[in-house]
Structures are given as C-alpha cells and as structure tokens.
Symmetry: C2
Subunit: 83 residues, 2 copies
C-alpha cells in the first residue's frame, strides 16, 4: 500500500480536473475519492503503458508517464483514503 | 442521460464483481456507486471499442460488447445515481 501523505504532494496537478476533494466537477471525468486503491494504481499504470487509449487518455498518458511506481502507489493511496 | 431503472435491469451481471451496491469487494476492481455518469458511459464505450487493454480489460471488453449505446447510457445512469 502507498503512502497517502506522499501521494498528496504528487496529487496537486490531479485536482485541476478531478477536484481538490477527489470529486470531479467536469462531466466525463471520474471521481477519485474513496476509489479502490489497487484499481487507481492499475488505471494509472494502464495509462502509463498506453493500454488505455481514446477519450481522455491523451491527457492521462502523459500525466501518468511522469509518475514512477512509488508515486503511483502513493497517489492511489491518497485518493483512496479521501472521505 | 440514461434511464436508471432500465439500467438496473442490465446491471445484474455487473454486481458479480462491482458489488450489488456498486462497491467492489475485490481489490483492483473499481467502485461504481455515485461515479460520474458520463465517465461511466465513456469507460464502457472505451472497453467496447477495445481502447482499453491490459489488466481486467479482457473481462470488460466482452461485457461491454454485449451492450448497445442505449444500454450503456442506462447502466451508467443506474450506477451514477446509487448513494
């Protein structure tokens, strides 16, 4: 499991689209608050590995590519623990 | 926007992995309860169009392929309105 505090420090850019509280205000963007931690990590890795294409993947692929495996675990832990 | 009642009728199979209440009990599977409706529809379409690969896409591609556009809108509306 990741470190939520370390994840928060990496997650500032996520808030631009997914909301500071993990609730996206833009239709079509997923809420991240309380989402399953392992799913969030898997989704980020899928974007990083270009296994997700189409839709907003053009945004998420480069975002995810900036995160290493530890960053991904930490960011996933951060959003998963938001209430 | 889709029809939640019609979506519920199509969503029984989803519950096997994503939970009857839209909260997945299996690590690595996303919660769907209260998720953004348009995002859910976009995600299903991405699986149907094979724009999402890797991970559990091997499960979700065939599931999504059984849904037409109306079904997708309705299933998305159903999970989005779960509290």
């Amino acid at each position: 499991a990741g470190d939520p505090a370390a994840g928060k420090a990496k997650a500032a850019i996520c808030a631009a689209c997914h909301g500071a509280d993990g609730v996206a205000m833009i239709p079509g963007y997923p809420n991240l608050k309380g989402q399953n931690e392992q799913y969030l990590a898997n989704a980020l890795k899928a974007y990083k590995n270009k296994e997700r294409t189409g839709g907003m993947a053009m945004v998420m692929q480069p975002q995810a590519s900036m995160l290493n495996d530890t960053d991904i675990a930490n960011v996933a832990a951060y959003f998963a623990q938001l209430k």
